[in-house]
């Protein structure tokens, strides 16, 4: 060792941890960790909860979130790692290696570190070998996320081999490794500890594991979005569904349609520039997250679209900002696209073109399609003239909506130059099983359901008709609920316990927790989303047959992990319950 003198200095000037007599004890029977004051002589004691949680439990159990779905084996003895002595061996093509290097940087950024001058003594060097079997760098719904991780200690060396079918699988393996490295401090040394031997194979149950963020009701800064993506990566969520526009604002800057932000952004600081988008897309991809952009329409539009007349294109929208709003929409400000104006499809074509340039092809695009308010269209002379001759019945307006959807799809395909993109829409009158086939071919459309319960006839009917669906159970996974109207807040247990309708049904692509933005902005969005989104992450990755109670201690650990990575999270129990595992659920 060449650090002998440095060690001496460090001992002379600083204690690496507060010596306070507290320790954590593992109860071998139930795998619970509890804080104790005077450790008994018989039982092994641990300097921190994280160390105890790493060691406690069966060899087939790991304190990892979300819980792996494949084989787990481990030897529950600690080995020490020095953060300065972790090296990586990268395999594959140059582009693969470049990507893996970015993931390694992510690993280094998120590795727990001691901030003092303490150094690690008596460590084993750690070598991590990363191997992606495929050189395919695209991240889509079909990306294989499987990985295997083998950690082996022998001859005073620790070797980790992470193999994935894709780089994104390898990334998940890196994430799991991060979770297996926890700070270990004593009086004169600050190391990371891990287990002596570990074997994991793992892959998700669902391919689409998403968080929806709404940056239109209230703007979210690029930094806030990044922090959410970072937490998604830590929880192996893989889709950021970005509801970027709505009737309130249009913050997405489009190079060929500068008027959209000029008329629609809240102010010049509340805009996502193409550079911001590029940065976010890359940031997300390194973290295994693809961005599913939603430009909602024909409803939920308004601000941003007011420039049509001035540009000689006519009214792009109707009812925009109209008052009294209750007559024209369900939430102010009002607005719907004007399907009577053929120019709308030219503008949409430009919009789609810009978006396909800014966002890489992930094979999916979200067109919204929810909550069309017929009285709005019904109030527009232009639209009534357009449908002249037809009765102003719901069917007529549904046909009009279907026509709009069809023309939008054609505009989209023309803009991207193929007809391969899956279009996602929310459930609506148009997706009613009785009419959906008339308007939305199942080969092109994925339906995002937001009905109250997973076990709903609508879902069954859509599946029977052959549609692929994404589930966003409104009364379990709507993170905005509980703060308006008669809605209730869903705590992490409810979010966790939202068992998927049928895990074997191939047509269920996955699910999303939705953070609608009326009452959240940079001030509170992180703690509103987290740690609850992590509960959904395990439901979607692992889909365990057990409920939240069985995951409690591991979930609390994951919350601490998110905090240590700089995320703002909500507390879910008094800290006493974290320090005395299992003792709060049994009381009363």
């Amino acid at each position: 060792m060449n650090g002998h003198i440095i060690v001496f200095i460090s001992v002379a000037f600083t204690y690496c941890t507060t010596i306070n007599g507290w320790a954590w004890q593992c109860n071998a029977e139930n795998g619970y960790c509890t804080r104790i004051l005077s450790p008994s002589v018989d039982e092994p004691e641990h300097p921190s909860l994280a160390v105890c949680k790493l060691l406690c439990g069966q060899p087939s159990y790991l304190n990892v979130w979300p819980y792996p779905t494949g084989k787990i084996a481990s030897e529950k003895n600690l080995v020490m790692v020095d953060p300065q002595h972790i090296t990586f061996e990268l395999d594959g093509s140059t582009t693969t290696k470049n990507f893996l290097q970015e993931v390694v940087d992510y690993f280094q950024e998120n590795l727990s570190r001691d901030n003092s001058n303490c150094i690690c003594q008596d460590y084993y060097p750690l070598v991590v070998s990363l191997d992606a079997l495929s050189d395919d760098l695209s991240l889509t719904l079909d990306t294989d996320e499987f990985y295997s991780l083998k950690l082996n200690t022998s001859d005073k060396r620790i070797r980790v081999e992470i193999v994935g079918n894709t780089i994104f699988g390898v990334r998940h393996g890196i994430e799991t490794l991060l979770q297996l490295l926890v700070p270990y401090q004593n009086a004169d040394s600050a190391c990371l500890a891990t287990l002596k031997n570990v074997q994991v194979t793992d892959k998700p149950v669902y391919r689409h594991r998403a968080l929806l963020l709404d940056s239109a009701r209230n703007f979210l800064s690029v930094n806030t979005i990044k922090k959410n993506i970072n937490a998604m990566a830590a929880s192996k969520l893989n889709v950021l569904h970005w509801h970027v526009t709505d009737s309130q604002s249009f913050p997405l800057e489009l190079p060929s349609l500068p008027n959209m932000t000029k008329c629609g952004a809240y102010d010049k600081d509340r805009i996502y520039s193409p550079k911001d988008i590029e940065e976010l897309v890359t940031y997300a991809k390194i973290r295994g997250v693809r961005i599913l952009l939603e430009i909602d329409g024909p409803s939920h539009v308004g601000n941003g679209w007011q420039w049509g007349n001035e540009a000689g294109l006519g009214n792009l929208t109707v009812c925009t900002n109209q008052q009294p709003w209750r007559s024209f929409c369900i939430q102010p400000p009002c607005g719907q696209l004007n399907p009577a104006n053929p120019n709308i499809y030219k503008v949409l074509g430009q919009l789609y073109g810009d978006i396909s340039n800014m966002f890489p092809n992930i094979g999916m695009f979200h067109m919204g399609g929810d909550e069309v308010f017929i009285p709005c269209w019904n109030s527009s002379k232009e639209i009534l003239d357009y449908i002249k001759g037809k009765p102003t019945t719901e069917e007529t307006f549904l046909d009009l909506w279907g026509e709009f959807q069809n023309k939008s799809l054609r505009a989209y395909d023309a803009a991207v130059g193929n007809d391969k993109t899956s279009i996602v829409v929310w459930t609506s009158h148009l997706t009613d099983p009785n009419v959906i086939q008339k308007y939305l071919p199942k080969e092109r459309y994925i339906i995002q359901t937001w009905v109250p319960d997973t076990n709903q006839d609508l879902i069954t009917s859509l599946l029977n008709l052959g549609y692929k669906i994404i589930i966003s159970t409104k009364d379990k996974w709507y993170l905005d609920h509980g703060f308006w109207g008669s809605t209730l807040y869903y705590n992490w247990r409810t979010v966790y316990n939202n068992k998927m309708y049928s895990q074997y049904h191939k047509s269920i692509l996955g699910g999303e927790v939705c953070m609608w933005g009326e009452l959240v902005d940079d001030s509170n969005v992180e703690s509103r989303v987290w740690p609850r989104a992590a509960a959904a992450a395990e439901r979607l990755w692992t889909n365990p047959s057990t409920t939240a109670g069985a995951a409690e201690g591991r979930f609390f650990s994951h919350r601490e992990r998110l905090i240590s990575r700089g995320l703002k999270t909500e507390a879910v129990v008094p800290q006493w319950c974290v320090q005395n595992e299992g003792e709060c659920s049994s009381y009363l």
Binding site: R217, K268, S486, R493, V573, Q575, W576, N580, Y587
Partner: protein, 617 residues
């Protein structure tokens, strides 16, 4: 109406700048008798930069309710910013709404931060406090410090502050009123702020700063004049309670709570310092309590921390009530320091109770109370907790207790009555203990939480004129009937923690104990002294918004409190008769932005579009 902008009336004076603290004799002008709000006015000056954060050239007029409106003019002077429009078009967006506002004219002048002169006329010992308060005022002005120096083309801004009273300790009885006048005199702005006490003057400064705004890209400050405000709170006790025991908050975070309260004229920070789950306060006479009771050796409040916080709060017009709860809500960990002090907590930590049979119990309590009295400065009010005693605990542990089953609500259960006696006696001894801790001096107010005891046996408590009930649940009429004063913290109305589901159940369907979430509307609309017990209004000292912290941690402390505690603040300060929805929304949103600018995270109350289109949502 439209505002006529007259550039020829731009006020510009070229004078050297001086910020001075001179003792000036100054007599305050009598208030205008006619208190009405004028709805017309004119803008005398618009800054010569674009002054707008909006992207296109938009202007705002009263007739469009300050919604952004495209303008074809290139005349910057014809553009009226959103903030300016809001200041001119509705009620003045002051929070909490003052008791009396007399807007004599709605003119706007601009000035620079470096042209503010402050003159103090106050007793010597108060002057130091006033200096601190004006420093805070200067720091909170809505303009960044980097633009401190700029061209001297704006008006001189004189603030004359007059305080009479020599006393600078904040008590329930402190007179917090103030009179503020802002007017243009020739070529400068004169602000006259008079108050009987330092705390009244501080309130006046918070109002004054709310009459000042800046247009985003400009470093110029704007003020509306001529305005006269005569203001005082309706209730003397206007608080926020924070539970530091279920989850711990660092002292810096508590200071930020104080900052938000100061901006909102709330005047009591009640710290529920300890509970069954932790004991984070280091008490000099019993340091082991924190050693064994804190979550972590770093998660403690040292005596210096508490004293600093108390002084930090005093300067901001806030007194700190330090509560160590008992006989229930006591951590069993204290037994490591004092043997057999706590019973029932070993198996179920949240059931820890002080042991009524240990003769050390009251000696320990006296030491605790002495420490708290040393740490605080408020010698008029003392909180002893007293909520949620579980008599079954004492029944099982106290020798000679009746062993029949306790029927919680049974009126004629002898066992119940006997156990109640133990509780009543215990509480009376706690009251005696406070007095012995004060060397026989009976404090003006000793506060206990409402409970079964106050529901039915309050008449059996000693010191009737002293006992104040902090009412959260139960029967309030017996308390009134007994003549006690109350502090209102009604659950479902003024609880900040409700609505996040049950934290301890493994059954996720279980609601939390007080779901659903209480919105700011509910906080605002609660005025039981009008709607429920008008005849007992005089027994209401005020109220507190309570934040129990089972499901709130450091990251959400601020957003959980704000802006809802501000809704309570206005209810307790001026208690407006009507809930004028659109006015309240707009003013509260502006106050939210004010808090945000001061670095206090505050929850959104609507989409930002509604902030930019006031009175349209």
């Amino acid at each position: 109406m439209r505002y006529e902008v007259k550039r020829d009336r731009i006020l510009s004076i070229m004078r050297p700048v001086a910020l001075f603290l001179l003792l000036t004799l100054f007599v305050y002008v009598v208030y205008a008798a006619d208190v009405t709000e004028l709805l017309t006015g004119s803008i005398h000056f618009i800054d010569n930069q674009s002054g707008d954060s909006e992207i296109s050239s938009t202007t705002h007029t009263c007739e469009d309710k300050c919604s952004p409106k495209e303008t074809d003019t290139n005349e910057i002077s014809n553009i009226i910013s959103l903030k300016t429009c809001i200041m001119l078009c509705g009620d003045l967006p002051i929070w909490p709404k003052p008791m009396n506002i007399n807007v004599k004219d709605k003119d706007v002048s601009t000035f620079s931060k470096n042209r503010i002169g402050i003159k103090l006329n106050a007793p010597v010992n108060v002057r130091g406090d006033l200096k601190k308060a004006t420093d805070i005022f200067m720091k909170n002005l809505p303009v960044s410090d980097e633009f401190w120096i700029d061209e001297d083309d704006s008006v001189l801004f004189n603030i004359y502050i007059n305080v009479i009273d020599i006393d600078n300790v904040l008590r329930l009885s402190t007179n917090e009123e103030y009179a503020l006048s802002v007017k243009k005199v020739e070529d400068h702005i004169d602000v006259e702020l008079s108050a009987p006490t330092y705390f009244g003057a501080r309130n006046g400064l918070e109002t004054l700063i709310q009459l000042i705004w800046s247009d985003t890209t400009s470093n110029k400050l704007h003020i509306i004049h001529d305005v006269e405000i005569k203001d005082k709170p309706k209730f003397a006790h206007r608080g926020v309670m924070v539970d530091t025991a279920r989850n711990y908050f660092y002292i810096e975070q508590l200071r930020k709570v104080v900052d938000g309260m100061a901006a909102t004229k709330l005047n009591v920070l009640h710290l529920h310092l300890t509970d069954a789950s932790s004991f984070p306060v280091v008490l000099p006479r019993n340091t082991l309590f924190a050693k064994y009771g804190a979550y972590d050796p770093e998660m403690v409040y040292s005596p210096e921390n508490v004293k600093d916080l108390v002084e930090y709060a005093r300067i901001r017009g806030i007194r700190v009530v330090l509560e160590i709860d008992g006989p229930s809500h006591v951590p069993p960990a204290l037994n490591r320091a004092v043997e057999d002090l706590v019973v029932c907590g070993e198996d179920a930590v949240f059931n820890g109770h002080l042991n009524p049979e240990n003769n050390k119990t009251f000696l320990v309590l006296e030491d605790i109370y002495k420490d708290l009295l040393d740490l605080g400065t408020d010698d008029e009010m003392f909180h002893i907790g007293g909520d949620e005693v579980n008599l079954t605990c004492w029944q099982q542990t106290v020798s000679n207790s009746p062993k029949q089953q306790l029927h919680h609500k049974a009126k004629h259960s002898t066992a119940q009555a006997n156990m109640m006696k133990i509780w009543i006696n215990f509480t009376n001894r706690m009251l005696d203990t406070v007095i012995s801790a004060k060397q026989g001096d009976v404090p003006q107010h000793i506060v206990i939480w409402s409970s079964d005891l106050t529901d039915r046996y309050i008449s059996q408590l000693d010191y009737k004129n002293v006992v104040v009930v902090q009412y959260w649940f139960g029967s309030i009429n017996p308390i009134f009937a007994n003549g006690n004063k109350v502090i209102l913290s009604t659950v479902g109305r003024w609880y900040l923690d409700c609505g996040f589901g049950s934290w301890k159940s493994t059954n996720s369907r279980d609601n939390g104990v007080c779901d659903p979430y209480t919105t700011w509307h509910t906080f605002y609309k609660y005025r039981p002294w009008v709607d429920e017990f008008p005849t007992h209004k005089d027994q209401v000292l005020g109220g507190e918004a309570c934040l129990w912290s089972e499901e709130v941690g450091a990251d959400s402390l601020e957003t959980r409190i704000w802006p809802r505690a501000a809704a309570l603040a206005e209810r307790l300060w001026s208690d407006p008769d009507v809930f004028n929805r659109t006015d309240v929304y707009v003013r509260l949103d502006i106050h939210r932005e004010r808090l945000t600018m001061r670095g206090i995270r505050s929850e959104a109350i609507w989409p930002r579009w509604c902030s930019q289109n006031p009175w349209k949502c």
